[in-house]
Amino acid sequence: MIVELDGLSRHFVVRRPTGRFRREKRVVRAVDGISFTVAAGECVGYIGANGAGKSTTIKMLTGILVPTSGRVRVTGLEPVRQRRELARRIGVVFGQRSQLWWDLPLAESFRLLAAIHRLEPAVARARLDRCVDLLDLAAFLDTPVRQLSLGQRMRGEVTAALLHAPRLLLLDEPTVGLDIVSKEALRAFLTEERRVAGTTILLTTHDLSDIERLSDRVVVVDSGRVVHTGGLAGLAAAAGVDRVLVVDLAEPAPPLEGVPGTRFLSAEAGGLRQHLALTGSAAAAVAAVSARVELRDLTIAEPDIESVVRRLYHRAAATRPAGS
């Protein structure tokens, strides 16, 4: 196992003034007894709403944050005690922070990281060349990091995290703020990296398509607890949350019942706009609809992670025996 968590918890004590002199102590259970494992070569999506405890878990996995209780092992090491040794085996990307040297050209950060990780220059060169090639970095290697666009910088961050060929790559919101093209480029690269190097990936994200494109399995957390683990085939379906096809028609039409691959949800404006839950492929559904009526416009509303997590959580709460 590359990652093993057993009853891992982290509580924070928050002090809040309640009067002129009095302060109230409140314990926040950011992570509250989380257990799961990640096997070598797997890609696991670690998802949950804001404040669910994802980043806190990542920080405990890297050994930066001391757990309140429970056991955690990463690549067989104990993160807090063996933090620097572990740093040689894992790569981390925090989507909202930078590990690059802000005032220096991007290439300089890679040279520094190669030296810090004691890589043989030839080995570092080969790995860097591959990333430069696949992530298209050549055009801005000599640009100071502070002048890079977010998309360029994220490609730099991922390269920086992979330069020392880590066994485990931890990605904390790697696509946050990226445009569609940059997101796609990054996902394609990570898929390729897994295929070639067999790197294990644990990723947190708010973007369901990151999960669909990259991970084999998901762990869903809410309020510091695991509410769902398993394959992601039909994660949204499991949660009872559908993708919704919204069609605007040229003329009002009766409810579009019985279109293959859909389930009729509702109609507006006397049937000018209709909502259909997608149960199969969107393309087939659109074709089937346009065979019946004339389409003026259409949109597909993806379920957001918050609603998936909320549904899963409520379901878990409903099936949990009372008092536990």
């Binding site: 924070f12 980043s55 920080k59 890297t62 930066i64 944050l65 001391v66 933090r83 620097r84 040794e85 740093a87 040689r88 981390v92 925090f94 909202q96 922070r97 930078s98 590990q99 040297w101 005032d103 220096l104 300089e108 040279r111 520094l112 030296a115 810090i116 990780h117 004691r118 100071p144």
Partner: protein, 272 residues
Amino acid sequence: MSAAVLPSPRAAAALVRAGFRRYASYRAATLAGAVTNTFFGVVKLSILFAAADAAGGAVAGYDRAALSTYTWVAQGMIAVVVLFGGAELAERVRTGDVVIDLGRPVHPVAVWLAEDLGRAGQACLVRFFGPLAFGGLVFGLSVPRQPATVPLFVVSAVLAVVVSFSCRLLVNLVAFWLLDVRGVLSVYMVASNVLSGLIVPIAFFPGWLQGLARATPFPALVQVPVDIAVERVTGTDALLALAGQAAWAVGLLAAAVWTLHRGTRRLVVQGG
């Protein structure tokens, strides 16, 4: 710190170079700083000359040539040992970016020190030699009589940078406990400016204040290297002065490493 957590010589050299190049990219700021330090050097030296003339040619053993050298070396040291302090690391603690430094396979204090040595090297080029050259051309400097003076000064200046680094690091690490270090930083600025001997030489102070200053690491930042440069302290005394600086450097570095360790234990990473 075991050897494994220290950067390899190659990494250390690369980090020093990175520190050097980082600050080299702010040319306008460097030039503006050098001009400011030179301007205040002229003001300070005029007052010191007036004082020396009134006192019959020398004050507390500093004659006009020694006062000129004192002034221009001290003005040059301002940027090298960052006498006005900085809150860069405290800012990284406040925003949570310090997790990046803690997540590297080498000890963060070693990385920061290497980068700071590079920064100091860069500061030498314009911020140290600029005011010194101006002072030499306009006011004249005392020329060292002993060949050992220049190498002794160089060692002393490097030790001054390490002492300064450790002091600034300790002040910044307070951010683990108080998120806003501005108050601590102002106290540090006043103390370091006065007690380092930047404003006037420590020998001008009344006896009790001299005693107080010498009980702090601040003279190691400016007064000790300057006194070696003007050859007020020579031979065995100079070596003893270097030993004193080295002791502060080691002691404060150890204190900073320990403080960082304590700080990370209670770390609440800001900003998720």
